[in-house]
Amino acid sequence: MSGNRARGTTQPAEANRNTRRMSNPSDISPTPCGQTGDQTLRNHSIYTQLMETVLSFMKLMTGDQQQDPALEEQKHSQAIREQEALLGHLMIQTVKHLQSGATGGHKFQLPCPSMHSRDNVRGGQQAQSSRKTCRDTFISSDLSSRGLDISSLYHSSFQDYNTYQGNKYDKKNNTLGFINLGTSENKLCIDLLTERLRRSDMNYVDDNLLQYPDWRGQPFLRKEVAQFLTTYCKAPAHLDPENVVVLNGCSSVLSSLAMVLCDPGEAFLVPTPFSSGFIFSACLYAKVELLPVHLDSWVAGANTSPFQLSVGKLEQVLFEAKMEGKKVRGLLLTNPQNPLGDVYSRDSLMDYLEFAKRYHLHVIIDEIYMLSVFDEAITFHSVLSIESLPDPSKTHVIWGTSKDFGISGLCFGALYTFNKAVASAVSSFGSLHSISSIAQYKLRQLLQDREWLDSTYLPINHFRLRTAHKYITNELKALNVPFLNRGSGLFVWINLRKYLHPRTFEEELLLHRHFLDKKLILSPGKSFMCKDPGWFRLVFADNHLLLRSAMHRFHQVLLEQERNWTRRQLEDAIEEDLLTSNTAAATRPHSSNLKG
């Protein structure tokens, strides 16, 4: 296997960087793994969705399974490595371009991943034609260069997400379909929500709902959101509906905030690992850079737990950025944290807010998981619960119903800010991120039904989350897989580094691919910009039967991973043996001649 991996025939990816033409097959060969530098690795897989690109490779693999197993495995493995390098290249280009987009003028060319796999494995006519398609796709003169970037993101992510959508696991009809424990969605209470949304009080239409809305959100919904947040965030005083802006999702809120708080090329600090969606929201439209504040996976120094955020780390990254001449405008926090599941203590929260105030930074706090704290021993502190905020005019809170209610399809996100200028500026985007008044009405009904929330939904949701979490963590313990045991969010952050040989991001991606082979989707740590390879996020907020099948597949993959490692070691040993005996043969110079 190792021989295949070396793949010396390829040329560096730089060959097709900055070109607008689609080059010939040898030009577009991916970067050899050995040449994929650290820099590259740090950037290249920050998009969760990009990882799903790999889904398309699967079809390719399964198509060739009937041939000679050994030969097939070589091919298979080579294809994987090439795809992986290509994927890496793709992501680097995308990220670099998104981040440098502000300066303009920088043109780049993305190879088309799915066609590339055909190039490598099948070649010939098919590759010719698909390459043509690819050229047509990516050299379109119809799109602006930023349009091209956006389009290439789609090609590399959404299409493959659609592949999953087209082949979903279904306990009746498609037990061999993909199980998605990669997307953070709470599917445990969809029955409760469906039932609640079907009740007759939801079905209301009047003239007012059919007319142009207040672009900040319907007054009745803003009022309800203010009341809701007052209660569930335990605000010391009533929150003001005038400080609420309602848009069609938290991504839209973040995108608008990035627009109004930063100029292109300016930056936010983000404790890392963090949700990859932030990158889309900050970069796609706003061209705002996210500067990772890397957290250590190991407890060291003053840290009392892994991945702990400290003011020291924030300051360090801030200073480095300043040295490089970057303008940092804010700090982006998620609490409860995604993917770690951490909940910040009140003291830590105050430390971060004080830090931000000291350096005149805005703080955006995404509290989208605030009602998904299912461990009763944990107390969540919303920033809105703080008596006197260090810098209220620079503190902006985001919340939505996608996670806490598992209704991402309803498309609702809200901003609470004490800063009227920010609220006004974000409201300008109201017409571009507007949410249907009919949906606004239903959301109001939902949020105001405290009886249902407090005695039905929240207790049941927490119970189900707890049960699912317990099941998954017990399984992980049985498999001896280390993980962060937190009591909030919809996921566990697990450590599979012992299955990586060597412990690199290439191996992480391979393992990820291996899961995909078994039709199991997890999110690799790299898509959260985690700096240590081997971490995965596993979403457990799904029904028990599905989780059981998923854990079965998970176990299978780990077993195979171990077997493969053993076999690789054996092969290497044999190869070494052979090499030794060959060398030995070579040192007996004329032995064959003697025979002849």
Binding site: S145, I190, T194, L261, C411, F429, S431, L432
Partner: protein, 506 residues
């Protein structure tokens, strides 16, 4: 269309009503015809203007980025009219002295039909899949229905394809997304002016894209047959002008039926504009949001999707929405139809920021599927009501001797109140607009549509009779008072040159 044109052009130039100027003050004794075509100043005007919304203001907020301050200005400047209205909305019972809104282009004539239809049991379905992460292009069932719907109502020669459909939360988002994927920041679209002014904001906010106004004249000259006629010559001049200023033009925006003019382009005209665009490799965005609101039977609307062969199908992008034709701007449904897969894909990848609730997508599909209701109940009734309301308001304007344009499509009448301005300036136009607002009636002034001649106003007539009557009464009060005020108006009024913009619609 021809009948209507004839009727309207019986009195020359801007088709004023038969009442003419009798008994009304007309400045300097000009007859109305001359007045309509009067130039605001003597210097020859540029026939185009490169818009730059960002150059219009200077304020800065300490907490916002510089672009954030510009963005905030967009919001604040919309405040005066629309938000004054919202704080003091007319209500027959609760607030009879509140403001009547004849400024926002909304169809309020059919809420009874629509609320009834939307309350029927087939609309109430809630499926788990509708609550979860969507296909960002729009749910497949809805895209299929939209393709069928547009094939039928746009009379496309072949069935339209669901793959070419992208669904978003309104045409505002669509303008924004198209501007972003078709242009670099600082590049521009051509747009015939007057035009529905909010497009300026839509293409600018995220996209940083500018609009080059192709100025149309109220005066009919040369081979033109009607006021404010768009000709290829004017397009060519504007394009050359923009190029000479170093502004890169990437496309042309057409609104058909037109807002605020109510024009419907003939097949020949449409073909000419598309050929012009093809010649210069320009994209054409055709906003057909009023396609089903052609209420005059003699007027024939031609969708670009009905053309047998588009000159440049890869660069032709059609938008439609439910806001106008179904009078449901609060639902936020908009759609793009383009044969260009790259454009569809690029727009779709921005859709996570412009998505529409799954439950609402389901309702829209149900609505578009119900052809019996649309064809037998909704459209005939809607057109009859639009026509009745239109007739009422045009009669009122004629009685006042106010020249106006109206061609049997859309929700509005484009009226020339120039004779009520003591001076032909936009400051005076703004003053008149404020007087209307003070008298509790909200109209839209021509400047908000980038009209180059002061004095034009857009009057929306698609409202219930009791409100229309009151609204027109208030308009008349102002104008009749105004004509006296005008006689001894102070010669110079200092006014901030930039007034509030019209409310952001789509």
């Amino acid at each position: 269309m021809s009948t209507l044109c004839q009727k309207e052009t019986r009195t020359p130039a801007t088709c004023l009503g038969s009442g003419s100027a009798q008994g009304l003050h007309t400045s300097n004794g000009d007859d109305v015809e001359r007045e309509c075509s009067r130039k605001p100043d003597q210097k020859p005007l540029k026939r185009y203007r490169v818009g730059d919304p960002t150059a219009m203001f200077s304020p800065n907020s300490p907490h916002l980025s510089s672009r954030g301050s510009i963005i905030k200005w967009f919001w604040d400047s919309a405040e005066e009219g629309y938000r004054t209205y919202h704080m003091d909305e007319y209500d027959e019972d609760k607030n009879p002295n509140g403001i009547i809104n004849l400024g926002t282009s909304e169809n309020k004539l059919c809420f009874d039909l629509l609320t009834r239809r939307l309350s029927q049991s087939d609309m109430l379905r809630v499926e788990p899949s509708l609550l979860q992460y969507p296909d960002w292009r729009g749910r497949p069932f809805l895209r299929e229905e939209v393709a069928r719907f547009l094939s039928f109502y746009c009379k496309s020669p072949a069935p339209l394809k669901p793959e070419n459909v992208v669904v978003l939360n309104g045409c505002a988002s669509l303008f924004s997304a198209l501007a972003t994927v078709l242009c670099e920041a600082g590049e521009a679209f051509l747009i015939p002016a007057p035009y529905y002014g909010s497009i300026t904001q839509h293409v600018c906010l995220y996209g940083g894209v500018r609009l080059v106004c192709v100025y149309l004249d109220s005066e009919v000259t040369g081979l033109e047959t009607r006021p404010f006629q768009l000709t290829v010559e004017k397009l060519e001049m504007a394009l050359q002008g923009a190029n000479s200023e170093g502004v890169k033009v990437k496309g042309l925006i057409l609104i058909n039926p037109h807002n605020p003019l109510g024009d419907v382009y003939s097949l020949g005209e449409l073909q000419e504009y598309l050929d012009f665009a093809k010649r210069h490799e320009l994209h054409v965005i055709v906003d057909e949001i009023y396609l089903l609101s052609v209420f005059e039977k003699s007027v024939e609307f031609h969708s670009v999707l009905s053309l047998e062969r588009l000159p440049d199908s890869q660069r032709t992008h059609v938008m439609w929405a439910a806001s106008k034709d179904f009078g449901m701007s609060g639902i936020r449904f908009g759609t793009l139809y383009t044969e260009n897969r790259d454009v569809a894909t690029a727009v779709a990848s921005l859709c996570r920021y412009h998505s529409l609730s799954g439950l609402v997508q389901y309702q829209m599909a149900q609505l578009f599927r119900d052809r019996d209701w649309i064809n037998q109940v909704y459209l005939p009734e809607n057109h009859a009501r639009l026509k009745a309301a239109h007739t009422y308001v045009s009669e009122e304007l004629r009685a006042l001797g106010i020249p106006f344009l109206s061609r049997g499509a859309g929700f509005f009448i484009w009226a020339n109140l120039g004779k009520y301005l003591p001076e032909a300036t936009f400051e005076q136009e703004m003053l008149l607009w404020r007087r209307f607002l003070d008298n509790k009636v909200l109209l839209s002034f021509g400047k908000a549509f980038e009209c180059k001649e002061p004095g034009w106003f857009r009057l929306v007539f698609s409202d219930r009779m009791h409100r229309l009557r009151l609204g027109m009464q208030r308009v008349r009060q102002v104008l009749e008072g105004e004509s006296q005020v005008a006689a001894d108006a102070p010669s110079c009024q200092t006014q901030e040159p930039r007034g509030p913009r019209s409310h952001c619609e789509d």
